[in-house]
């Protein structure tokens, strides 16, 4: 995972609450066994007028010019401004991979669905929770100012732009992992002895967890 310290980029505003992961990356693309190849199909059913299929050439698709991300002012956007409960629904991590591959490094919203939030942290996509009043303010600014950029500084836990600044909270450990680009499996395996010790105690206390139809004491 690439470290995330700070990032500056154009903000795209997606003014819908409860954007679910079925919208972020529709099911037909989940047949892939790879971690890449999802960027062209981010928000597929909203972005294009024709139905998306795996392997369809994006250049031959019919663009939905009414969809915000297709507006020229948002070309090259790397910060997504969203509404409440972003990423609800299915646990598919493909949603995070698609957002990243499209070019997003950060999503700002008043709230996120739990699983999506976790998945983002694991991949270095920074989910920033900002109070609704700040999000409202940002929607107002981005709406009026084409090409508006923000700088998201993870170390300082700040979102900064012309005429805007806000502080955000994030837990210390995910923050450290994001900033250092740490392998969190490696971090847990550093506790391997504790896991083994727990496991043998657990096995004595609850042998049925390990036994598969067993009948011993």
């Amino acid at each position: 995972m690439d470290p995330f310290e700070q990032h500056e980029g154009t903000v795209a505003a997606l003014d819908r609450a409860n954007v679910d992961t079925d919208q972020i990356i529709p099911k037909q693309f989940l047949k892939s066994i790879r971690r890449t190849g999802f960027g062209d199909n981010l928000f597929d059913a909203w972005r294009y007028l024709d139905e998306g299929e795996i392997g369809k050439n994006a250049n031959e698709r019919r663009i939905n010019h009414d969809f915000v991300l297709n507006e020229p002012r948002y070309a090259g956007a790397s910060i997504l401004l969203a509404r409440d409960n972003f990423g609800c629904g299915s646990s598919r991590e493909h949603a995070v991979w698609a957002l990243q591959e499209y070019g997003f490094r950060c999503v700002i919203a008043p709230s996120f669905a739990d699983i999506f939030f976790n998945n983002s942290l694991k991949n270095g996509l920074l989910p920033v929770v900002l109070d609704k009043k700040y999000v409202d303010e940002l929607f107002g600014i981005v709406h009026h100012e084409a090409g508006y950029t923000l700088r998201v500084d993870l170390g300082a836990q700040a979102v900064l732009g012309s005429g805007f600044s806000a502080h955000f909270d994030i837990e210390s450990e995910p923050k450290r992992q994001l900033m250092e680009g740490l392998d969190d499996i490696g971090a847990t395996l550093a506790h391997a002895d504790a896991i083994r010790e727990f496991e043998s105690r657990h096995r004595r206390r609850m042998p049925w967890v390990f036994a598969r139809g067993g009948n011993t004491r």
Partner: protein, 471 residues
């Protein structure tokens, strides 16, 4: 000291270590895998030169992508080459790492959340995870069960643990008796309608109260299944006789002396009288009528006797906009009685309602009746091979078939429409699954979530209708 909730008890029994930053390393007892969210996890494992921590904690089955017809040839019967590769990759990974798999031709194959309980691989007090958000289903057994992403699948494979922050406790107490013609599906849709799709975010829900106690295990699974649709990763029900009776004798469940020991422990999996809940919600079951969702989020739900709302019915501007978008997508006019809306396809199945009781409930409505001529397709998809066998032994397949339903092989099918079972643009379904998101059942398809009995009633009438009047 305050007492503990069931969630607290299971959590405490699985804490390996608390890290300096306050995050908990939590031990995972059971890990369920399927073809869609595991390949990248296995790939990551191989790239890092790691192997599964405890092979026998894992149980795998292909379900999301498998066709529900032409199954005799197993993987070779899958026409779609991309889907086929995914199922083959699961086969390979299971062989390579020695993970037990109910493969496509195995009679025990089925939807991962149906087969876990069916096999007794889901036991009370366990921590259970799966790369699928409906893992909350297993909470019906007083297990702590929730969905995870693919990175976490890899993490669990490699370490047998998850790094977690504890959720808050929420109790939803449903008292009174569910009226005739209503089910656990109507109960959970009604709850989601009240608290919203983010109403329980950050919480583990315990469903309690006399109406919940009265539910069968299948019905409790339906209830817990949709916890995620209220924003909760986990939902559970305390242990009682029904729990133990269901588990007893299942292939993975303990036997003999070990059963006795386990039972002693499992009996403690009830919330203490003085346990503290961060949020409490009370509900009277007697007022619940059969539910039908009308919009593109499970919280947009109505009683069968109600009319489609108008944007002005909502005070919150965000809800108003959601309503407007949903009306447009669903092609519905405000004020339309939901009980007059015609359906094109009917889907009975999924991890929410693909169990034997669900099929029985639908068959009761269908017996001696026919699917309306205006309905393009009606499909019954058992949740597992064993559910299918049982249904056939009871003659349910004959009832479905003679009513004009297609009787399919097990899988997720039209719940998410990764295979050929799907809605076409503009079509409307009555579905017993759990998500009515835009395009969930097919590009530009329109989904209405209902109970199995209500789906059967809609199939017979050709439009949504009150099953209580049919019976």
């Amino acid at each position: 000291m305050a007492g503990k909730t069931v969630y607290d008890k299971i959590w405490d029994a699985h804490v390996v270590a608390v890290r300096d930053d306050g995050m908990t390393i939590l031990y995972v007892d059971r890990h369920l895998l399927h073809e869609v969210t595991s390949p990248q996890a296995f790939e990551g494992l191989a790239l890092a030169g790691r192997s599964p921590w405890r092979r026998d904690a894992n149980l795998a089955t292909p379900d999301h992508n498998v066709p529900t017809t032409n199954r005799a040839h197993g993987v070779d019967g899958i026409d779609d080459p991309v889907a086929k590769e995914q199922v083959l990759v699961l086969d390979d990974n299971c062989k390579r790492y020695g993970i037990e798999q109910f493969a496509m031709t195995d009679r025990r194959q089925g939807i991962v959340h149906v087969i876990g309980p069916e096999q007794g691989a889901t036991l009370p007090g366990m921590t259970i995870v799966c790369g699928d958000s409906h893992t909350s289903t297993h909470g019906a057994f007083a297990a702590l069960a929730h969905g995870i992403g693919t990175s976490e699948v890899e993490h669990v494979l490699a370490t047998q643990c998850l790094v977690q922050r504890k959720s808050r406790n929420m109790r939803i107490e449903v008292d009174g008796e569910l009226p005739f013609g209503t089910t656990a599906k109507d109960m959970i849709l009604n709850i989601i309608g009240r608290i919203g799709t983010a109403g329980a975010t950050g919480h583990a829900i315990e469903y309690a109260g006399s109406a919940v106690r009265a539910l069968s295990m299948e019905a409790r699974m339906t209830l817990c299944n949709m916890s995620i649709e209220a924003g909760a990763r986990a939902g559970l029900v305390a242990v009682d006789d029904a729990t133990l009776n269901y588990v007893h004798g299942r292939p993975f469940a303990p036997r003999g002396a070990m059963w006795d020991r386990a039972e002693d422990y499992w009996r403690t999996l009830v919330s203490d009288a003085d346990a503290n809940f961060d949020a409490e919600i009370g509900l009277d079951a007697t007022g619940i009528v059969p539910q039908v969702t009308w919009g593109t989020s499970p919280e947009l739900v109505l009683g069968i006797d109600e009319d489609v709302p108008a944007p002005d019915d909502f005070d919150d501007p965000a809800k108003r906009e959601l309503c407007e978008r949903a009306l447009a997508y669903m092609d519905l006019e405000p004020g339309t009685p939901i009980a007059s809306v015609p359906v094109d396809r009917v889907f009975i199945g999924s991890c929410t309602n693909g169990r034997i009781e669900d099929l029985r409930a639908a068959a009761t409505v269908l017996e001696g009746r026919r699917v309306a001529g205006s309905v393009t397709q009606a499909m019954a998809v058992p949740g597992s091979g064993l559910v299918k066998e049982q249904a056939e032994a009871e003659g349910l397949d004959a009832i479905f078939r003679s009513a004009g339903f297609e009787w399919r092989d097990p899988g997720c099918s039209m719940c998410l429409a990764m295979n050929d079972d799907r809605l076409y643009p503009g079509e409307r379904s009555a579905a017993t699954s759990n998500r009515n998101f835009e395009g969930r059942q097919g590009h530009q398809g329109r989904t209405h979530l209902v109970s199995p009995a209500m789906a059967a009633a809609a199939a017979v009438a050709g439009y949504f209708t009150d099953v209580r009047e049919l019976a």
